[in-house]
């Protein structure tokens, strides 16, 4: 539930030998650290087995054929029209949600930092509220609202964007708020204003470029959350990737396992890429975090 927050300042693990220790300390240190290294690798090995066995089992399960390996289930991912349309919808939802989240949140977060510090706590409270309202409960209250949404916008699954923006609010807000806190927003904005820039161009040409890293983090997290969302889509009777995977599980479990593994790997690549975006920012000297 908590966004991975790489904090930039704290020094790293005490893997370096202690600086000032007596003879006894020096005699003890190598033995202690060797034992620690053994423990560390044993633990990592045990966890690797626990976490990799189900993932490898998915690979085995989805390539079972009548006497050998087959990749039919994997090929079916791009052939099954239901699945292709579900993947398309989920990707579209991910993009729409990220865009909607940025449009809704960036101006408000900036404005609250600059002009309305008094309501900052209120905005923060609202943004973190979805953490205390489980999706399964939100869906109960949102279902009547969606009667109106479908009345105005039609029955497209893309209307899920509205509630998905709420769902990603806590994670996105934290990322953007951290980004804003790390730059000297007030000075930047005043400089731009004194040169004649309007608030819109302060936002678009000063704030956004300076918190680019935070915006990328917020967007990536939103995309990952939307691609994995099941509760709201399923109970509001819309189709997305996860709903289709679940339905498929009853019909063709090999294909549904193949898509599951593919989507997990896709999300992993996405988050791994995000961690490198974070590093590039750190090394280029911009001090902010996502």
């Amino acid at each position: 539930m908590t966004a991975p927050t790489p904090d930039a300042l704290a020094p790293s693990a005490p893997s370096a030998p202690p600086v000032a220790s007596g003879v006894a300390g020096r005699a003890r240190a190598p033995r202690g650290s060797r034992r620690r290294t053994v423990w560390r690798w044993l633990l990592l090995l045990a966890f690797a087995v626990f976490f990799l066995v189900p993932l490898l089992a998915m690979l085995e399960f989805s390539t079972r054929g009548a006497g050998g390996r087959t990749f039919d289930a994997w090929r079916a991912i791009v052939k099954d029209p239901d699945l292709v349309s579900a993947i398309t919808i989920s990707l579209e939802l991910a993009v729409l949600t990220a865009v909607g989240m940025l449009l809704l949140l960036v101006p408000v977060a900036t404005w609250v930092h600059l002009r309305l510090p008094r309501v900052r706590r209120l905005i923060e409270f609202i943004c973190l509220l979805p953490l205390t309202i489980p999706a399964i409960v939100l869906v109960v209250g949102v279902a009547p609202i969606y009667a109106w949404v479908t009345y105005f916008f039609g029955e497209s699954s893309l209307t899920l964007t509205f509630v998905y923006v709420i769902l990603v609010l806590p994670y996105a807000y934290r990322a953007i708020d951290n980004g804003l806190g790390a730059i000297d927003l007030r000075t930047l904005a005043e400089a731009a204003r004194s040169l004649g820039a309007g608030w819109a161009s302060v936002l678009a040409r000063v704030v956004v470029p300076n918190i680019r890293g935070a915006l990328v983090s917020a967007s990536f997290l939103s995309v990952a959350l939307v691609l994995g969302e099941f509760t709201l889509a399923s109970l509001l009777n819309f189709n997305n990737l996860q709903v289709t995977i679940n339905l498929l599980g009853k019909r063709d479990s090999a294909v549904s396992v193949a898509v599951s593994l593919a989507s997990l790997v896709f999300a992993f690549v996405l988050l791994l890429a995000l961690s490198y975006v974070g590093r590039r920012r750190a090394s280029s000297g911009v001090t902010e975090e996502g």
């Binding site: 693990a13 240190a29 189900p54 989805s62 404005w111 399964i136 939100l138 959350l225 994995g228 679940n246």
Partner: protein
Amino acid sequence: MSASQPATARLSRLVPYLAIAPFLVYVTVFLLYPTLIVVAGAFTDDSNRLTSSTLRVLTEGVYLRAFARSIELSAVTAVAGAVLGALLAWAVWSGPREGPLRRAVTAAAGVLAQFGGVTLAFAFIATIGLSGVVTNFLQDQMGINPFSGGVWLFDMPGLMLVYVYFQIPLMVLVFLPALDGLRPEWREAVESLGGSGWDYWRNVAGPVLFPAFLGATLLLFANAFSAYATAAALVSQGSPIVPLKIRGFLTSEVILGQQNLGKALGFGMIIIVAVVMTLYALLQRRAARWLR
């Protein structure tokens, strides 16, 4: 905003608030009003009269048992996830900070903790389902039938197993920053005073980390308590836990006189999660005293 023009000043002081109006309208429609619907529904009957009878139904029979099972599931997987996750976090943290291992584990933890849901249910069906890889191995190679006592994967024990699979990664994500807050000087101080590694963990790092550990355990509890997707994909028969009971109210014909029972269940969930998250926030503040 000079004092000479009080009326204009007051008006112009209100103008900045207009900028956040669209945001407030949006969250009112899609977050605050839906929440109000749930809370109000919990206190009214079918004809919108104020009543406490809807909530009172929760304190008896199947609904009370569903809450008990939900709490049991969340507590067991939160404690198991916190202990195991803290160990894994330590193992990762003792390595280099910018190393590929830490990077890969963090990304993988992010996926399993936040993306999981339905896909994790299928992962375990492929592993230890009726024709799962491990099931086949146990049956063919070892002659053991893991389901001799019933198909436990699709019931509470199965839920616990899969929940731990996403609770450990969440613990890693939450606990790594806490470990990063430990300062090397503390360890050096202990060593220069002749203390051992055990002394350090027992008397310095342990007490400093304890509030963060406790807080993370609460967060894991709330996480498991709110989870729905995994359970929905795994359990299609019966509704042992509260989220699945709510599914029942949303997907099937509602019995007369019980229109608002789903909302009452939802309200109960909000209360429990809110209490847990408040305690979590308090512990976070306590943890921040030593760990930056």
